[in-house]
Symmetry: C2
DNA sequence: CTGTTAGCGCTTTCAG
DNA sequence: CTGAAAGCGCTAACAG
């Protein structure tokens, strides 16, 4: 007598003195079952610790309740986990489970990952990049519903959800303008990413709306780290008519800006207001004074991706794959 | 004629003029197949884009190649993703795929998650906590191989992998001693976690090994945030014989220590050396001078968990579940 | 080396 | 309301 075999629907059918069909029905909460019978069957199931085998159900129904989640690289940014969290929470709420594969930016792995997911018959695929960027994907993705998170394909043939960089840049700048500032410096990332381009557009838009002319002297493209922020502030403050407020591409640059301002004996926000981007708690909440900053909608993007995938069926072949932009909330602290 | 049905092994068998058995054999790289036949079959498979259905294989073989990964809460610490990365990379290397469920510390979700994984017949379960701690788990886990990451059960009945806090505390302190310091302050977390208790033990051990008497005045239990670090340094430096080196429970406290030292016009490391814990890049690499700190083996723990699960079969009912402690490497920068 | 034949455990008509 | 029967797509003997 080998190790105890798996308890099947047959076993419990026999013990209950009913047919397997009936057992299957109570298992799936089908309505047409005699309450008495149902109770009996359930009791026996509980007693023997019966557990349906997912593989068998899947083979029969062709429903896996799985969603593939592929990332280019999980690690890079600390808040990127929020995308996973958002997706995971939403998936669980919808009775779906997440299959996770990290490609480490390796095209071969990506290809294999896609293949694996196709073989598993996942119900949809989420491809998440760790920062807002255009991507190229093997066409295979098209074989089933897919959503891009924090990235998009140039030809827009795949649905995608990204942060609304322009509005965020505009909101950040407008916040500074509302505080009475007219000379607002923008320390931008010197790489032409969607984030840099979008936020700059938003910055100019806010300026225009307030009737403030754009001054190229106030724009500082730099390396997106603390040093870049430090150098930019030095440069900015050397000008004849220096900015009284500074909008930084990210919190790390803002960190450098704080250091530069301190070295220049300038008080925040009294002498110069500073506004960051990313809301990296470790920086934003711990800087003195607390850094006012914009928050990326990572959790919301992960959530949206799942919701789109789950609801997609009802939309039946929508003409254009949606290209959604999610708002970046302002996190107000004491630096403006 | 409905939407094209899935291409099965039967289809390709027919097209190739062979039996399904043969097709199955080439699919599984079985040795006993005529090279000619194999090529033919493979060609046809490629041509029609055949893809084996995982569910069918699983139902038949009872092998899922899945490993469940359960976390208590993904978000809290930014470096926690490294555990996932380590596990994911190792899993992929072993042909296993990860099923991810985040419980948000909800016992009901945990229970349901376990149930789901059992139904899926995962080959093993990893339960990862987001910081080193004892945990309680429903016994269900015992039904299949499980590994605890960054946590353990009090009775040690489940294998677990955690950071070697004692050795880390000893190494950190010894590093300071080597630099010639005799008065070494330890700003510890004021909660009695394994990390706090272990590192303190290591601190005392290193002191003892160097023949330096332990001075309770140099021990500062505090809230593990920048403010706690700031306050501690103020207190420590007020003493008649103040420490010339400070070991901080984490980088955030070290961040506060830097601020306090700056306010006291004390230079790092010239006047006072500072050593942190966690190697949170955003802090450690950006502080001036760069913070020397200890690194938690997150990636390695995730990796170890998978390797244990995969290799476990060969160990055949080992008497005691292993309780592994992984080393925390020292990351040398300029603060000591 | 290869075709045939049983099922894996479950769902789903189809008759009662 | 319920039992019986037919597979889902694949693997694994078992005879050739």
């Amino acid at each position: 007598m080998p190790g105890k075999a798996h308890v099947t629907i047959q076993d419990i059918a026999r013990k209950a003195g009913v047919g397997v069909g009936t057992v299957s029905r109570v298992l799936n909460d089908a309505p047409n079952v005699n309450p008495q019978t149902r109770q009996l069957v359930q009791a026996i199931m509980a007693e023997v610790g019966y557990r349906p085998r997912t593989a068998a159900q899947t083979l029969r129904t062709h429903k896996t309740h799985e969603i593939g989640f592929i990332t280019d690289e999980i690690a890079s940014t600390p808040f990127a986990v929020d995308v996973i969290r958002g997706a995971q929470d939403a998936a669980w709420a919808h009775g779906k489970i997440l299959i996770l594969i990290n490609t480490n930016r390796n095209p071969d792995v990506l290809h294999a990952a896609l293949e694996t997911m196709l073989e598993r018959q996942v119900e949809g695929i989420i491809y998440a990049a760790m920062f807002h960027q255009p991507v190229q994907l093997p066409i295979t993705v098209c074989e089933l519903p897919a959503v891009l998170v924090d990235c998009y394909v140039e030809d827009r043939t795949l649905p995608s959800v990204v942060p609304d960089e322009v509005t965020a840049g505009r909101l950040a700048t407008a916040t500074l303008i509302e505080r009475g500032h007219r000379r607002i410096g923008f320390i931008n990332n010197n790489e032409a990413t969607p984030a840099a381009v979008g936020r700059l557009a938003g910055y100019r838009q806010a300026l225009a709306e307030a009737g403030i002319p754009f001054d190229p002297l106030l724009l500082c493209p730099e390396a997106s780290d603390p040093d870049g922020g430090y150098r930019s502030v030095q440069r900015l403050r050397q000008q004849p008519d220096p900015p009284t407020a500074i909008f930084c591409f990210n919190d790390r640059m803002a960190m450098g800006a704080y250091a530069a301002l301190r070295d220049l004996k300038l008080a925040i926000p009294h002498d110069v207001a500073v506004l960051g981007f990313d809301n990296q708690e470790i920086i934003a909440a711990n800087l003195r004074p607390g850094l006012t900053t914009m928050q990326l909608p990572h959790y919301a993007m992960g959530q949206w991706a799942i919701q789109y995938l789950v609801g997609e069926a009802s939309e039946a072949e929508n003409s254009h794959p949606p290209q959604v932009q999610l708002a970046c909330p302002l996190v107000l602290r004491e630096s403006v």
